[in-house]
Subunit: 598 residues, 2 copies
Amino acid sequence: MPTYTPPLRDMQFVMHEVLDVTSDFKAIPKYAEADAETINAVLEEAGKFATEVTFPLNMSGDAEGCTLNKETHAVTTPKGFKEAYHKYVEGGWPALSCDPAYGGQGLPLVLNQCFYEMLNSANQAWTMYPGLTHGAYAALAEHGTEEQKQLYLHKMTSGEWTGTMCLTEAHCGTDLGLMRTKAEAQPDGSYLITGNKIFISAGEHDMTSNIVHLVLARLTDAPPGIKGVSLFIVPKFNVEKDGSLGSRNSIYCGGLEHKMGIHGNATAQIVIDGARGYMVGQPNKGMQAMFVMMNAARLGVGNQSLGLTEVAYQNALAYAKDRIQMRSLSGVKAKDKPADPIIVHPDVRKMLLTAKAYAEGGRALAIYCSVLLDKAHNHPDEKVRKDSDEMLSLLTPIVKAFSTDNGHIATNMCLQVFGGHGFIKEWGMEQFVRDNRINMIYEGTNTIQSLDLLGRKILGNNGATLKKFGKLVAQLVEEEGVNEKMAEFINPIAYLGDQMTKFTTELGFKGFQNPDEVGAAAVDYLRVAGHLVHGYFWARMAQVALREIAAGNTDPFYQAKLQTARFYFAKLFPETATLMRTARAGSKVLMDTDAALA
Amino acid sequence: MPTYTPPLRDMQFVMHEVLDVTSDFKAIPKYAEADAETINAVLEEAGKFATEVTFPLNMSGDAEGCTLNKETHAVTTPKGFKEAYHKYVEGGWPALSCDPAYGGQGLPLVLNQCFYEMLNSANQAWTMYPGLTHGAYAALAEHGTEEQKQLYLHKMTSGEWTGTMCLTEAHCGTDLGLMRTKAEAQPDGSYLITGNKIFISAGEHDMTSNIVHLVLARLTDAPPGIKGVSLFIVPKFNVEKDGSLGSRNSIYCGGLEHKMGIHGNATAQIVIDGARGYMVGQPNKGMQAMFVMMNAARLGVGNQSLGLTEVAYQNALAYAKDRIQMRSLSGVKAKDKPADPIIVHPDVRKMLLTAKAYAEGGRALAIYCSVLLDKAHNHPDEKVRKDSDEMLSLLTPIVKAFSTDNGHIATNMCLQVFGGHGFIKEWGMEQFVRDNRINMIYEGTNTIQSLDLLGRKILGNNGATLKKFGKLVAQLVEEEGVNEKMAEFINPIAYLGDQMTKFTTELGFKGFQNPDEVGAAAVDYLRVAGHLVHGYFWARMAQVALREIAAGNTDPFYQAKLQTARFYFAKLFPETATLMRTARAGSKVLMDTDAALA
């Protein structure tokens, strides 16, 4: 059975020592009270919740899965899931970072970020039930009418109701312009919605009295394609004006998918058979509101893989210290044992350090993004809001794709550390791999993320936002350029930054002639960008560690950080050498292959 | 539901056009009759068997798994598995490449290689039941007494009995020196064996009347460690001198593992409770005989991933042509449809071509190895036998690790082509990923393979065998060095060969000072070697294709081959740039990490 310890020390390091988030919060009136002590205390409790309440249900939830009663359309979640959800509600956890106007606790999003990392380590499948609600909350908070907000957000904040996002149909996943679900306007201002959705995570369950489905559909007179899509609230139970539950709406679960992983989450086929719906935002502008939700979800998916990387690492590390097998190549290490613990072997260390480096780099990036999100929404200075929003939009596809690909690499390596035992269910490692696998796909496949990054976010504004990130790198280079001890961390990112700038310009020209050049380079490009970003945060973390060590701090945490930074730059970051080559190799070898792909 | 078409044309291309295997066979008296026509005809029938008999049982076998009756210790395999095995026996398939002295058909091993590739594409879990038998057969054929061979090999050749290899115990997988299973000599020359084995593939089943377990155990007076391990035949039913079945031996299945994949194969915990055993080979020399089996199994495991790569590719290709989603970045391609098939997108093509290039490169390597194996055993010239054996021992860890890692990459990419549907069981793609995952672990983890390659096979003889492979590369470079059209294929391997030679010398020196340098570089080194070998075969395949095209051959097969070769060198081979860097980055960043890995 796997174990899990919340990485509170590392979260505190990133928040307080690297990013100094409370200084940012001081500039945001509503967070003026959010000091380090409060943050740390809340996260300690949050860690207990994850460890004690949802983690023990992870393997049993995987083994049991969800069941659908085909007659009543009711879904039963695995044993204990419902009770864990009730504890989540009782603890006030859904409200953590929600708006006090709707009953929220109004704490910074970074708390929810760290809490959800821990929940994802503990049990990704369970976490998706409350997790989806945050995206729906954000979409309604930004695009709903005041009446809608009053009617729905209180109950979502309290956790009495959950939310979903209903986008995908059998014939359209990436390409939502092909959507067929219809919405017919009714005289009372509501709509009758009809259609079939698939892959709806947490789409039906037994945890709450109501589910607030946010459904994309097409008005009867809508223009074709993506510009004819509108967003609707379609509650499972209609909601009366006083907030009480009315009649059962005609939206129900028609089937559950059998999946590779996240068995504990109900991935529902949703049948919408003339259900009552209420428009959110403007007609045919549904994608705008949905993107609020999707961007939240994309960060959330990156956070899922971060959680899985961390928990897989912790267990592989424990196993590598415990399992004895063979002697060290450089001489016996454990003289009192018949063999050495496998952690003495260089490649076992490499696999462990890979997971550790991706977890800690990913955590710094994720926390940085949560602060950007808070600043984008809540900072009093408009320029800060705009800049934060831009930077976040650049980093979102990187968080989604880079963190989930790294989660794939890391969970597979951690499984490998267990040898044959990694393949056996009782050790729990293979579940982390299976659960992580969906993260590379949903909320926009990682290829789609790369096109979003390179096509829209970078070439779409001539690299302006990328340059802003480049300025952060340049600033660090300037700060530390004369510090010899920082050279091993600074030089690689300075060099890569220059290479990327040059390559981006090249690609701009090539893509103008032939857009397939962008498509051919995008996935490699995103991974290079991911390393630039991780490299930047690793350099900043090394900077803090070096400073503490120089000041005489003997806490081994700082040595550990420095060693991991060195490993990262020596063994993982050099992947960019190949990626730059293959990205530059262009589209011809892909597109001139009609005979090969016949 | 996935589909599968045996890649007969590609097998024929490698056998007849690239490697000209029948010329080799002409020099081997027992294969003088094995002409291309015979080979092709047998493989066509073999393909039908895989497609029609075992492929339809792949998904149902995964869903159903094996069950153990805890009272009788009987294992029931998934529905249809037993009947499929009977058809396999009726068709005479077990005997294909076995020795006529024991009832075999005496055909070259390349036939069995290609047959098993197809069986693995069709159903890896089923294929392991007969597959393990070949390894046990090889060990007995080489190290058994004539009496043992007469008693067991006929029944294994006919398929009446299957074989297993019982090595692993709960506390020792890689490190067989820790083994505890005991063997006590009996006055009649037999032994009483007692111990517990785990992870025994095909360890118990309902397909045959007997199972020939080959069991590693320790004589009561054995020296400690790996030099005190002997090999024993421990049949499920004792075998009388006339070959009839006697009493039930005290070796039975105590439990079945619940695994990530290969659910249809019974991975058994084997309890040996004073069972009657018969020594194979010499006392305390069990590893010698076992290595015959393990080397066969290592090639076999590479072949499993080759099969999965091929079938995953075929299905992803079909899906990419069928699924419409978004428009091509370079303009509408399917004007009559609401969107373009996703095969127009550069990254989808890249994922498909990755799988195709690894399948076809892996197939060339696997077929080459099967010819080496035949030459090592059967060639009349001793020098050819010795050279072939040496080359094969160099290539075996590469086949095992490179093919299975590539299978991991390829099956995951093919799953990704399906988007969300790839995660759903009914499409079958996620099973290929799960089944492949064990291939990177069993028969020696891929890290162990890399240490075997670099430590034993390369540095162990000062790079002599590597130089022999280098000569093949040099010969090709010389042959084609003036051919401009071959430059794009020849230059990269010539350059990489030089780099490897230099780096191997470097490593020899560094490893002498500090053996952990070898352990730190080995995994990267093996992957570089894999690309050198694949690159060599891709260059040879391109050579044939260019020659045919120049001669006016308009079969699009040759264009396809050329396009795939170009893709391989442009997008996959450059991985070596990073691998050389990270291999050179040394062991310090791994070993000086005690704080990080505390």
